[in-house]
């Protein structure tokens, strides 16, 4: 299976990355994907995502291992930003190419749930009154728990 896992320090175009991913997997019956962006609500001016070199990318690779082990895929892409981002900027792109639709969907869904609550990122938001550290929403924890068998 072709895998493309990247921790990005600069802005990226999810549309372009998806187009290349689709081209790289002409034989897959379907491609499911998710793009997460900085939400412009709550007066957020800047979002900062902090990674730790020795854990973050290795953790993303481990996640990809787990996804590959659970679902039958032709290809898997996980691109995740780190650093400072403005509202509307893409943070994460996950895409899975598979012969069967359900495999592609579940792989992306699982990877996103994992990334949102269990991956090695720390996050803070700059609002009018300065920086605030963010923890995962309870919903994100619940989402991730769905997969614990």
């Amino acid at each position: 299976m072709a895998r493309d896992v990247q921790l990005l320090t600069k802005g990226f175009s999810p549309g372009k990355a998806l187009g290349l991913f689709a081209k790289a997997h002409p034989d897959a019956g379907g491609i499911a994907s998710f793009v997460g962006k900085v939400r412009p609500d709550g007066g957020v001016k800047v979002l900062e995502l902090i990674s730790y070199e020795r854990l973050t990318l290795p953790g993303m690779e481990k996640l990809a291992d787990e996804v590959e082990g659970r679902w039958q895929l032709d290809g898997l892409l996980i691109h995740h930003r780190t650093g400072h981002m403005r509202p509307g900027a893409p943070i994460v792109l996950v895409a899975a190419a598979a012969r069967h639709r359900r495999d592609a969907f579940e792989a992306v869904d699982f990877a996103m749930d994992h990334l949102k609550s269990r991956s090695w990122f720390w996050k803070r938001e700059k609002r009018g009154d300065g920086w605030h550290w963010i923890e995962p929403r309870a919903q994100d924890h619940d989402d991730a728990k769905r997969w614990d068998i």
Binding site: Y52, I91, F121, W122
Partner: protein
């Protein structure tokens, strides 16, 4: 004869810097002496983890870092 301590997220705010060199060896009981009571208290929080050279300790009180090691103090992750 130093251990590099990396402060992540909130802990970097508390430390006022991203990393610091402290004298080796560094063990759990020596954290307050090496880093100050405030940081040691924050690291005691159940949800704070410790990694040595990129390996997260299952039991952080077993911390035992030698010269050249990198010790990362990890607050709860926020998710991406």
């Amino acid at each position: 004869m130093a251990v590099t301590v990396v402060f992540i997220g909130k802990l970097a705010d508390l430390a006022g810097e991203g990393e610091r060199e402290v004298a080796a060896p560094l063990i759990w009981a020596g954290l307050a002496d090496a880093l100050g009571a405030e940081i040691a208290a924050a690291v005691s929080d159940d949800r704070t983890k410790i990694a040595v050279n990129g390996e997260v300790l299952a039991d952080k009180t077993a911390l035992s870092a030698s010269d050249g090691d990198e010790v990362a103090l990890l607050p709860p992750v926020s998710g991406g």
